[in-house]
């Protein structure tokens, strides 16, 4: 009897965990595929099909360390762009401007960032809309 109860509880726990995982995976996929479409429309012309950038003019999106270190700043960067700023990416200095994307909703920013930070050799998991909204509120 006791054995059956323990087995039942265990089974329930396992079922719950897998269900949660699937939910997380599903969410990631939704963000990622949505982000891929936004990337194509908004970012690809400059940053390239494979996030390779353009010579020393436009930085690549392949610097995982930069993306990780500046995670909190990425939503502001996408929404407000950068103006005459020097960014060091892959230990190379990039000087110039990126146009703002004021028309992107926090959800779109979350999607496109999830796409970028999980493509081109990056692997950072989902950046959710909640996180993005919090970061946007703190933009300088």
């Amino acid at each position: 009897m006791k054995f059956k109860l323990i087995a039942g509880i265990l089974l329930l726990v396992v079922a719950l965990i897998t269900a949660c995982q699937n939910d997380g995976e599903l969410e990631f996929k939704r963000y990622y595929t949505g982000g891929a479409a936004i990337y194509k429309q908004k970012c690809q012309n400059c940053h390239g099909n494979n996030g390779e950038g353009l010579s020393s003019l436009i930085p690549p999106l392949t610097d995982s360390v930069f993306l990780k270190k500046n995670r909190d700043y990425l939503p502001c960067l996408v929404r407000n762009g950068v103006k005459e700023t020097v960014l060091t990416i892959n230990s190379k200095a990039y000087e110039g401007s990126m146009p703002p994307n004021g028309d992107l909703a926090p959800m779109d920013i979350a999607k496109v960032l999830t796409f970028v930070t999980n493509s081109f050799g990056n692997r950072q998991g989902t950046i959710t809309v909640d996180v993005v909204e919090k970061d946007l509120a703190a933009c300088r």
């Binding site: 690809q44 400059c46 390239g48 353009l54 010579s55 003019l57 401007s97 146009p99």
Partner: protein, 218 residues
């Protein structure tokens, strides 16, 4: 006997291929008009093709560039501006491919006209060239009178462009790469934002160079 027939057939097939290759020629584009002249008392009708007229601009090194500077060259022309957020980066990513393919070829050049000469001074163009990674004299970024640039683009290269403060970057333009031969005639238009069209351009430049060389040889 059969073997000989096979060999002859093969030879013919190869010859036919070669014949076809020699004949491949790029079309001559733009407007044209027949001109009838009297030569030695006989009426002769000749076709006069549209050509790119002379111009005077300054390149990224501050040198004056005219039609004369391009004498004996075939070239590809496009229109851009350095602060362009839309199609220019992809155009010049593709143009870099053309540049790398032909940068050591003596009779080929690329010229990119800025449509925003107020912002794109010689110094700005030089910096852009450095960042893009282009050196030497096979790719010139040209700057000059704005009206002259627009007239050249719209009336002679037949590409559309305009200033519009409502669009990102402030200018509307198309991403055409225009191929010009040594006689200043238009020989091809290629969408500079599309990789497949730019690959076709690279092929057509080779065809055009071969064609010009045979003309000289005759």
């Amino acid at each position: 006997m059969k073997k000989i027939a096979g060999a002859i057939f093969l030879l013919l097939a190869v010859a036919a291929c070669n014949l076809k290759e020699n004949k491949s020629k790029l079309p001559i584009l733009g407007t044209r008009e027949p001109v009838t002249k009297t030569v030695n008392g006989k009426q002769v009708t000749d076709t006069v093709y549209q050509t790119i007229p002379d111009f005077k601009f300054v390149n990224q090194y501050g040198d004056s560039i005219t039609q004369n500077s391009l004498k004996g060259n075939i070239y590809v022309a496009d229109f851009f501006f350095t602060s362009c957020p839309s199609i220019c980066p992809i155009m010049h990513r593709n143009m870099l491919k053309v540049y790398k393919e032909f940068k050591n070829v003596p009779d080929f050049k690329i010229i990119s006209h800025t449509i925003d000469p107020k912002h794109d001074s010689v110094a700005v163009l030089k910096k852009y060239a450095d960042k893009l990674g282009i050196t030497g004299n096979s790719w010139w970024l040209l700057q000059g009178n704005k009206e002259a640039t627009y007239t050249l683009g719209q009336k002679h290269y037949l590409v559309a462009m305009s200033q519009d403060d409502g669009t990102p970057g402030g200018y509307v333009h198309q991403g055409w790469f225009v191929l010009i031969d040594k006689q200043h005639r238009i020989r091809g238009y290629y969408d500079g934002t599309r990789e497949d069209e730019v690959n076709k351009l690279i092929g057509d430049i080779k065809t055009l160079r071969a064609e010009v060389n045979t003309e000289i040889a005759q």
